[in-house]
Point group: C2
Chain length 341, copies 2
């Protein structure tokens, strides 16, 4: 059966499924773990702690400046593992396809998955494909779960480890992903194209872990949905501290600032897919920043604030504005930005 679109039959589990998997996926993703097509992949891992994470991707549009849902799904899970100080090793790939999806698009996405996995040094070890009727999903949804190895020599990295005095670093320009997607979706004419920052942070994090003594790097977090503001609030809550950030230290591209003004959004709440927030012992902050700046993905890293002792009952995040005022930065509420990742 020759077709250029996904049919319900491709999800039957029978011959059409087998052919689709071989033609579209095995050609690009084949490896000794995935290729036997067993119900589970069999992995050999060194003893020690593992990190395990899952993320579903429902982004709209599925192709966007700087990436597509395939590369994003790999980067997102690679980054979630990296944020735990783990070295990402194996990923799963769970696809939900809408009947009628063009197979050419699926091939392009499969190629993006393969390229992104190769770049990040991870193996797609196990996969699954389901098809639903036209109108019961939107083109393609992808779940990636991931396994990473945590080297025992590092102290635990955790969202509850921020201490008063610690420095807060962001690894580069914020809001690029969110601004790019919202702009693409708005259909508004806008001179400059904004690229998503979608990228795998694992090698940057490896460099960072080596740069400072074990324990000095308190925590890592990637500010995806909900943006920098939401992550900072989660850190404040989990560590029971206040965070103070300085507006004029936060790296924001002019174009992103422009889109935010156009659409009435705050860049602190825009999603990032290739950035991390770091909390580090202040005595090692400059060393860490220098190492980050030597990595392509940390070139524009900056110290944006510091951790303070909690002043009131509730931990809070405070922004020192460019014009000198102070304002509280709450966790994201109100206007939702759906399907940003």
């Amino acid at each position: 059966m020759k077709t250029d679109k996904i049919l319900l039959d491709h999800g039957s589990g029978g011959l059409a499924t087998k052919n689709l998997i071989e033609d579209v996926f095995m050609k690009r993703l084949s490896n000794p773990f995935l290729s036997p097509m067993e119900d589970s992949a069999v992995l050999d891992l060194p003893p020690g702690k593992l990190a395990f994470t899952t993320d579903s991707f429902v982004i709209d549009p599925i192709f966007f400046p700087g990436g597509d849902i395939g590369s994003l799904a790999v980067h997102g899970t690679v980054n979630d593992l990296s944020m735990q100080g783990a070295r990402p090793v194996f990923l799963s790939l769970g696809l939900i396809l809408e009947e009628g999806l063009e197979i050419k698009k699926l091939e392009k996405i499969a190629q993006s998955v393969a390229d992104a996995a190769k770049e990040a040094g991870v193996t797609i070890a196990t996969a699954d494909t389901k098809v639903v009727e036209k109108g019961q999903a939107d083109k393609i949804f992808i779940n990636t779960s991931g396994i990473g190895i945590i080297e025992n020599k590092f102290d635990r990295i955790g969202i509850d480890r921020a201490r008063p005095g610690d420095a807060i670093i962001v690894s580069g320009y914020i809001g690029d992903h969110g601004a790019s997607i919202l702009l693409a979706r708005s259909g508004l004419p806008f001179e400059a194209e904004i690229q998503s920052d979608s990228a795998p942070l694992n090698t940057l994090v490896e460099d960072m872990l080596r740069a400072v003594p074990s324990g000095a790097l308190r925590l890592l977090r990637d500010p995806t949905r909900g943006g920098v503001a939401t992550v900072l609030n989660e850190i404040a809550q989990a560590s029971d501290v206040d965070l103070k950030i300085e507006e004029d230290q936060i790296p924001i591209r002019k174009e992103v600032q422009g889109v935010c003004e156009l659409l009435g959004l705050d860049p602190l709440y825009l999603a990032n897919e290739g950035k991390c927030i770091v909390v580090v012992d202040k005595d090692h902050a400059d060393d860490l920043l220098n190492v980050m700046k030597q990595h392509g993905l940390g070139r524009d890293a900056a110290i944006i604030g510091h951790v303070e002792k909690k002043r009131a009952q509730q931990p809070k995040v405070v922004l020192q504005t460019t014009i000198g005022g102070l304002r509280i930065v709450p966790i994201l509420t109100g206007e939702p930005l759906p399907r940003i990742c």
Copy 2:
């Protein structure tokens, strides 16, 4: 914000997401791995081999006789791990929710996940929730990925290990899940309710692995999508052998047979969610069968055929019919049965 339905805001990553997770999931699924709400769970596993698998569930209807999408998602992944001879330990839970889904239904599903995980002895270690606009998904899709431990004392279990002479066992009545879903969907009046067989096979498999010498149990496979016929064809292909099964040895409930006649379906192609196909050294087949029959989920197990040397270029599956003829049982093609799991 008090609401009895899922809103887009529940997927924002901000406060509404946090509240939904706490109210619906943490109440039921809280454990030391999931509760810190880090980007990844940190797992401590014994040295040795691991099994890793992923499966997305898009079943329609989401509630059906014998289970719901929540219990099914746990059973499906527990079973995929078990089929590799692994002891399932950790599961991930990735949810895609449609705007407008009733929160009461989500709570019921979360409870099913919790109950099924408890019964199977697995921990939900990491989770993710996304929300898409009304009409862009159908109520709820669930991805579960899983990690299991493979004890080193067992020989490899693999789909390529069937050898001529081996016996083929099925662990019980076939087609219950598929018949149950199709009947529920058809809206046809039918006297008897057919229950899905959705169940966790891990303790049955543990008993089976202990029952026979290492190596005698060649392979395990759960005949889900595509049914027994598709799994047998996959075994024939991977092991490069013919399989011969006997129609009058295959356990099929009268009610399932009835639904098949009503809807024009072959029970060999109906999905099962609590059954396994076993290929075992013929000298140990009776011992294994006896052990299986002592387990609640193997009570109706039967030897349904055996492995033969390949006769022609292409491996094939042959059915000896009740009336004495032989017919080839191909891999599933043609009429798809969408969203059966």
